[in-house]
Subunit: 232 residues, 2 copies
DNA sequence: ATTATTAATTGTCGTTTTGACAATTAATAA
DNA sequence: TTATTAATTGTCAAAACGACAATTAATAAT
C-alpha cells in the first residue's frame, strides 16, 4: 500500500518572467542570483514556496520584493520538474509570467538586488532551464495577447494608440497595419479618448486614451482576435 | 543567506481528469481512492511523482496504469498547492486533463482498480479539491476545443459528422446549427470522407470520416474559431 | 410497388469582419 | 507661407459569419 511517508519529498519554487515595455521595446527583468549554485549568474526572479503560502502567494511575494509592486497581472504557465533541472537537489518550479508597467517599477531595487531590465531579444544566458522558461513565456504571452486584452497591463494609465501599436508589434514580432489596428482596437469599445495629447515625439501629438475599467473587467476573458492572419 | 537545506520539502503529485465520449455524452473516469485519508471515496486518478520522473512522466504512468493506454492526449492545467488542500501533509498536485477514445479503454481495469465512468453532469462528490479540478478542466477543455481541433482525440478513427456534432454540443453545453457546423468543420480541411457509411441509428446512414493525419499534425496549433458566438 | 418515415446532407442570403491599400489632417519648424 | 513629420481616417472587394429550411438516401410500412 502506498503511504505518504514513503514518498520522496521535494523543494518547490516559483520563477517569474517579468515583462515590461519602455515605449519602444519589450523587456524582461532579471537578477543576479544570490545563492549557490550558479551564484552571481543571471536568473529569473523567484524563490521557494514557504510552508504557509500557495504558489500564487509565493509569486506575489517575490514580485513585491523585486519590483515594489502589488496586485500585478500574473499568470501561471506550467510546472518545470525534470529530474536534474537543479543540480543540487530535486526542485520543482512553477513558472509565471507577469506584466507590469515599467514606470511603476521602483528603480532603487536595481541596486538592492542587482536587478536589471534587458531587451527581450538581447538578454544574457540564464541559469538552469530559465532560458526555456523565457521562451515559453514569450509564446504564451503572444498567444494570450492575441485573444485577450492583456497588454494594457504593461502601459501607463494614459497611453496613445501609437504606443499600443508598437507594443503589439513588439509582442508579435511583426508589422501591423495602422488603419486596421486602430479599427480593431476601437471596435473593442475598451478605450476612452481623453482631451489631452501626448506631444513628445511628434508635432501633431497623439491623443491619450485610458481603459474603460468597467468594460475591461467585464471583457477581460473575451475572445477578441486582435492579431491579423494569426498563425501559432 | 537562503540555502536549500533550510527550505521545507513537500510531496508532489499529479491528478488527471480523463475525458471520454460514448457517442452521446461527455464522461470522466473516476476511481475509488486506495489509501488513507478518504480511502474508498471517489477521486481523480493520480499518484505521487517519483524521484526519477517528471510530472508529465508521472501523469503518463498513471494513465497507462488506469486505462491501459499510452500516448494519450494530455495537457497540463495548473498546479494545486494551497496549504491544507491535503489534510495529512502538504502536497502539491499538478492537474492534467486527458482526452481518450473511450472504446480503447480496457474495461477489465474497472474491476482491477474500482474505476468507473461517470457522466460529467452526474458524478459523485470527490475528495479534497478534485471537484474544483474537474470544473477547471471542463472550462479549459471548452476553451481549447473552441480554438484547436482537439476533440478528435475522443473519437474513434472512423467517425461521422453527427457524432462530431454531438460531441461539440456536449463539450460546449449548447446547440450548434448543423449547416454552419458542417461548413466550418469542412473548411478546416482536416477530414477525409470515406466510402463507408455508419448505418446504426439511421436509415440513410452517415458517412464515415477520418482525420487527415498530416494536416492535423501540421495544424494542431492553429486557431480555428470552431464555436459560434463564443463568449468565455 | 408505392408511400411514409427518419435522419443525413446540402444551400441561400444579408450582415459583419477582414485585410490590403494611401490620402488627409494637425501641429511645429523652416 | 511653406515644408515637414507623425497621427488619423476611409474605401473596397473578399471572406466569414449566422440565421434560416428544403432535399436526399435509405428503410419500414402499406
Amino acid at each position: 500500500m502506498i503511504e505518504y511517508s514513503r514518498q520522496p519529498h521535494y523543494l518547490v519554487a516559483v520563477d517569474c518572467i517579468v515583462f515590461g515595455f519602455d515605449g519602444e521595446h519589450l523587456k524582461i527583468l532579471l537578477v543576479k542570483r544570490g545563492l549557490e549554485p550558479e551564484i552571481n549568474k543571471w536568473s529569473l526572479i523567484g524563490g521557494f514556496v514557504g510552508a504557509d503560502e500557495s504558489p500564487d502567494d509565493a509569486a506575489n511575494r517575490v514580485l513585491k520584493k523585486m519590483t515594489g509592486l502589488e496586485g500585478v497581472y500574473l499568470e501561471q504557465m506550467q510546472i518545470y520538474g525534470d529530474p536534474g533541472r537543479d543540480p543540487i537537489e530535486r526542485t520543482f518550479s512553477v513558472g509565471y509570467f507577469a506584466l507590469i508597467d515599467i514606470h511603476k517599477y521602483q528603480a532603487q531595487l536595481n541596486d538592492d538586488y542587482e536587478a536589471e531590465w534587458f531587451l527581450i531579444n538581447d538578454r544574457p544566458k540564464l541559469i538552469f532551464d530559465h532560458n526555456q522558461m523565457v521562451a515559453d513565456a514569450r509564446k504564451k504571452l503572444r498567444y494570450k495577447a492575441a485573444l485577450h486584452p492583456i497588454l494594457f497591463e504593461m502601459l501607463p494609465k494614459k497611453f496613445t494608440i501609437p504606443q499600443l501599436h508598437i507594443l503589439f508589434e513588439e509582442v508579435n514580432d511583426t508589422k501591423i497595419d495602422t488603419r486596421n489596428f486602430s479599427r480593431k482596437i476601437s471596435s473593442t469599445g475598451l478605450l476612452i479618448k481623453l482631451a489631452e495629447k501626448d506631444k513628445t515625439g511628434s508635432k501633431k501629438g497623439a491623443f491619450y486614451f485610458k481603459l474603460d475599467k468597467k468594460k475591461y473587467t467585464a471583457n477581460s476573458q473575451a475572445f477578441l482576435n486582435l492579431i491579423p492572419n494569426l498563425k501559432i
